[in-house]
Structure formats: structure tokens, C-alpha cells
């Protein structure tokens, strides 16, 4: 993973982790992505948080909905291609008026090498919007934490589905020459 200068000079992963703490998030469901590595490391190291690794992202929608029913706040973190696996699952939080807070690290956009990442990478936002998810695009490292905070606040306080889409400009580009 080559980090772009913007990402190198600002530790957005620590900001996002702090936002999770500020919003009392105790459960992380994830199919990991390279861009999530630093956040997930911090969550794994936090004894007040549980991190569940899923077989497919849609499981995470069920788990965080169940956790909300029992009084615990969860967040689903995944790569853009995984967002496509969640579509019918999103009818659960929509029907139940329960929060569904998602953090998506993007592939298939800026400078992508792998064309198989492009179809979902270029369509997470319109597809999520069609399924009632409010999307917030994080394209600068310094603003990523703030956007996550707003999106989590909206999800948990107004019991709705939200996603922060963290751009490849923030994350860096996967280098296939390595």
C-alpha cells in the first residue's frame, strides 16, 4: 500500500478510531480491506470492543441490527466491492428503523489497477442511495474523522442507514508491482 502525501501527513485512521470511541461503538463487523488495516488494529487492541470477521458483508447488517436490538452500537466496515453484497440486507434496518452505520474504503476509482474493482467502486453511492443509505464521501484525510462522526451521529440518533465512503486519495493506491 503506497500512501499518498495527504494520508502520510495526517493519521485519519486514529481520527476514525476516536470517533468510534466517542460514539460508544463496542462492536465492529468487518470483511477486512487494506485501507482499514490501521483502524482494525486499534479496534482489536481495545478490550472494550469486539471485532467480528465475517464471511460476507451482509452478515454484518444482521449482526449490528441484532446488537442494536440488545442495546449495543455496532459499525460495519468493508471495501467498496463488499457494499454490493449488502443490498437486500439493507431492507432490515430500513424496515426496522434501526441504525446501520457503515464505513467503506473505496477501490475501483482514482488510479485503480484492477478493473474487477471498478463496477462496484463506481456505483456504491448510487446503489446505496437507492436503498435508502445516506452517503458521505471523504476525499481528504483531515476531514475523514469529522465526516465519520457526523455519519455515525445521524445513524444512531436518527436511526437511519449511513455510509462514509473513504476515497483512494485518502487511503492510497494498492501497488500490484510489489
Amino acid at each position: 500500500m503506497d500512501l499518498e502525501p495527504d494520508a502520510q501527513k495526517h493519521d485519519w485512521s486514529s481520527d476514525v478510531y476516536q470517533v468510534l470511541k466517542d460514539h460508544d461503538v463496542q462492536l465492529i463487523c468487518t470483511v477486512p480491506d487494506a485501507g482499514l488495516t490501521q483502524i482494525l488494529k486499534k479496534c482489536h487492541a481495545d478490550s472494550d470492543m469486539s471485532v467480528l470477521t465475517l464471511t460476507t458483508e451482509e452478515e454484518g447488517i444482521g449482526i449490528i441490527t441484532g446488537a442494536w436490538l440488545g442495546g449495543v452500537r455496532g459499525v460495519l466496515m468493508m471495501q467498496s466491492s463488499g457494499a454490493g453484497n449488502c443490498i437486500n440486507a439493507l431492507s432490515l434496518p430500513q424496515n426496522c428503523h434501526t441504525p446501520c452505520a457503515m464505513i467503506v474504503t473505496m477501490r475501483g476509482q482514482w488510479n485503480e489497477f484492477n478493473p474487477w474493482q471498478v463496477p462496484m467502486g463506481s456505483n456504491v453511492e448510487p446503489v446505496f442511495r437507492q436503498m435508502g443509505v445516506q452517503c458521505f464521501r471523504a476525499d481528504t484525510a483531515t476531514k475523514t474523522g469529522e465526516l465519520c462522526s457526523g455519519a455515525l451521529g445521524l445513524a444512531f440518533n436518527s436511526t437511519t442507514s449511513t455510509a462514509v465512503l473513504i476515497d483512494q486519495q485518502v487511503i492510497g493506491i494498492k501497488d500490484f508491482a510489489k
Binding site: S50, L54, I61, T65, L69, G70, N88, H97
Partner: protein, 197 residues
């Protein structure tokens, strides 16, 4: 391939009644279709959460509830088609190692909700073995009422995660329809647990 159609079959409605006759403190999550109607037919209860859609997510919802309510038993009651669609969640459940979670799969080897089309468990697929492979070690396949006591023990008492597959007959039962407004059910479930709105 060995057909399993000749082994003894339980009546789904009677089985669910025999299991829920003393549900102890269990929170019940149901998978869409007949398992939802079976549980509703016994009694509508604020500590039931019925799924009417999102096929494949019943076990996942149950896992989330179990994590958030570690002092309560959580029992997922679902069908073979629903369980198969979310079969990956067996691995997630095993890894989470929730002591308080158990799963009952009502296996009629067909898609009863959509016209009795043959399901994968009619052939060579064995849900108990799939759960074992995923790492759920405490499992049982119940084929007659002789297994009822053991099934109840696994579902309500034994340290989980536990899974019971009940081989049920194809007999159709009356549809008993519980609430289907998700927001209402979510709200009453949370209030029942004393969680602020």
C-alpha cells in the same frame, strides 16, 4: 447420494410448541416464512423478533442480540433454506463463541414458502455437518420426539453456541401471522429489555 426421506419426521408445529412450552428467559429470533408462523402460533411475545425478509440473516441477527445481551439466552429458530443461505454465519458464530446462543433449524428439505420446491438438504447436504465444519461443536440432528429433551437442553441450557437440526415432515400448517412492522417489533423488543428509545 442417500435420500433422507425415509427417516422419521417430526411435526413442526408440535415440535416448536414442545420446545417453547417452557422458554425460560430466552429471546427468540425467527427466520422468514414458516418458522416465523410456527413461533407466532405458540404465542406472540415481546421477546420474539420475527424476520419477514432478509433471507439468510436470522443467525446473524441472533448473534448480534446474543453479543449485546450476554446474560440472556438467545434462540434462533429458522428453516433449512434460510439457514443454508446464511451458512457462512455459522463460522462467524463459532468464532464469536457466544455461550448464550443456540440455533434450531426446522429442516423439511424444501422451500415450503414458495411452493414446496426441493431443497438442498433433501440430497447430500447435512446442515449439522456444515455447522460442525464451521466450528460449532455442540450439535444434534433430531429425528423423533425421543430427541426432544436433548434438543431442549442444547437450546436453552448447554453452553453455546449450539445447533439443533430437526428433521420435520412436509405437512403444511396454518399460517399464523405475527406483526410484520419491523419498526414496531424493534421498538417493543428494545423496550422489553429496558433499553431507552
Amino acid at each position: 447420494m442417500i435420500s433422507q426421506t425415509n427417516i422419521a419426521k417430526l411435526n413442526r408445529r408440535q415440535l416448536v410448541r414442545d420446545i417453547l412450552v417452557d422458554r425460560k428467559d430466552a429471546l427468540i429470533i425467527t427466520g422468514l416464512g414458516n418458522p416465523t408462523y410456527d413461533v407466532a402460533a405458540i404465542e406472540d411475545h415481546i421477546e420474539n423478533f420475527y424476520l419477514w425478509g432478509t433471507m439468510g440473516l436470522a443467525v446473524s441477527v441472533g448473534l448480534g442480540v446474543a453479543i449485546s445481551q450476554p446474560q440472556r439466552r438467545v434462540v434462533v429458530i429458522t428453516g433449512d433454506g434460510e439457514a443454508m443461505m446464511g451458512v457462512g454465519s455459522f463460522a462467524t458464530v463459532a468464532a464469536a463463541a457466544c455461550q448464550n446462543l443456540s440455533i434450531l433449524v426446522l429442516d423439511n428439505e424444501m422451500f415450503a414458502e414458495t411452493g414446496n420446491q426441493q431443497g438442498l438438504t433433501h440430497g447430500c447436504t447435512d446442515i449439522e455437518k456444515m455447522a460442525q465444519g464451521a466450528g460449532i461443536v455442540t450439535t444434534l440432528t433430531a429425528t423423533s420426539s425421543q430427541h426432544l429433551a436433548q434438543a431442549r437442553e442444547l437450546l436453552f441450557t448447554t453452553g453455546g453456541p449450539c445447533l439443533v437440526v430437526a428433521k420435520i415432515s412436509k405437512r403444511e400448517e396454518k399460517k399464523v401471522l405475527p406483526p410484520r412492522n419491523g419498526a414496531y417489533m424493534a421498538e417493543r423488543f428494545r423496550r422489553g429489555l429496558g433499553i431507552e428509545a
